[in-house]
Symmetry: C2
Subunit: 76 residues, 2 copies
């Protein structure tokens, strides 16, 4: 089975990487880019029958820094 984990900085947490992208897009002449947030996607190839609870556990313990990041698990 496959799962995809989306990890984004929580709202209100400063995102300097996204801000750099926004600025660079402006410099390239793309108008109307109001805000940019950058996050991570992690695609996992898991043994069949892995429970969603185990994936959440992976996120809590390793994949996401839950102090500043939120995550969303999608089973494919």
């Amino acid at each position: 089975m496959k799962a995809r984990v989306h990890i984004m900085l929580k709202t209100g947490v400063l995102d300097p990487q996204g801000e750099a992208v926004r600025h660079a897009l402006g410099s390239l002449g793309f108008d109307g880019v109001e805000a940019v947030r950058q996050g991570k996607v992690i695609e996992l190839d898991l043994a069949d029958g892995t429970k969603e609870a185990a994936i959440n556990d992976m996120c809590e313990r390793l994949l996401a820094n839950t102090v500043i990041e939120s995550y969303r698990v999608e089973i494919l």
Copy 2:
């Protein structure tokens, strides 16, 4: 309007970051993690009426390295 761009390394391109995550999950006792690929998500807040072609152009020129990465645009 909002758009989300998913950027992943192309199949066959070595992903050391994903490999490190796979190894770390194994060390934490998570069995059955067969493969891990890590990518980026970029959420864009754009002026209304921005065309999908403009977003593809942003990907080609800045957001993705199309030699080794593929991207997918999702309009929200």
